[in-house]
Point group: C2
Chain length 164, copies 2
């Protein structure tokens, strides 16, 4: 299994969509999650910072939730981009997704000090709605299972309509 995401969908987001605290490359305080293809799965790799603890020695669940969240929207963007005939890095602008729902089952305490790897399986459930099932590993240990329903960002995000 590869240990680096070489080409990430977030690298191709336009500047006005690159400020997300989780995955925006322009957000200097954010996590800078980067999501790419791993054959027909998707992958995001992240090394939690020392302060991202639940208690000493274990990773904070909210950080894992954030990883699952952005991994989900990134994976949905990868999938629809590929369906549209594009791959990250080919200079086409990817579709933009927002999260309709986020679910995480914490299976085991997640040890700190180990790189986390989120591996996703994407399923189209509507032309504008994708479900991403994610497994989060610390090393080889499966620590959490997540599910995100991601929807194409409404044309006017400020319309504040219900997303799901």
């Amino acid at each position: 299994m590869e240990e680096k995401v070489l080409i990430a969908i977030q690298d191709d987001y336009p500047e006005d969509f690159a400020w997300c605290y989780g995955c925006g490359r322009m957000n200097e305080h954010g996590h800078h999650f980067r999501t790419g293809w791993l054959e027909d799965k998707t992958m995001t790799i992240y090394a939690p910072k020392p302060e991202h603890m639940a208690l000493p020695g274990y990773v904070y669940g909210g950080l894992i939730g954030s990883l699952v969240d952005c991994h989900g929207t990134g994976s949905a963007a990868l999938a629809l981009h590929r369906k549209n005939g594009h791959e990250p890095g080919d200079s086409a602008e990817p579709p933009r997704f927002v999260t309709a729902s986020l679910h995480v089952d914490f299976l085991k305490p997640t040890p700190h000090g180990t790189v986390l790897k989120a591996i996703g399986t994407v399923q189209e459930i509507h032309p504008k709605k994708f479900k991403v099932e994610t497994e989060v590993f610390a090393g080889d240990m499966l620590c959490a299972r997540g599910e995100v329903v991601a929807v194409v960002m409404p044309s006017s995000f400020t319309a504040k309509e219900q997303h799901n």
Copy 2:
């Protein structure tokens, strides 16, 4: 509705349980979520930082998930503490909870620049397992609904057994 949490359960956590990135008062980089009673509901109030954005003008979903997460464990601790005859601030050590599962439905884009208020309803589903239903408001607008299943922390958290 009160706008401050005056007495929070997290203020009573023992030092070794006060390092959580979400709600630990000892974590200097964390969010410092504080959860208290609001009559028979629970409440956590938080003002997102400028960098906690999904895109400019809107709050990052992972931050909302983190709020729901720690609000859930804090609410469960409040409920079991009360069941045991205690209130925060009475110098008794509260029970410790960890998150078994986290779910968030994002109903509306959450505007940035407004204080967020998580209001929780706690239900005991087992002597060691509590479900917390949470509504997250930005001002008066309901923006997200969350559910956390929180369980009493296993005596040896390092045993890495399955939590749910």
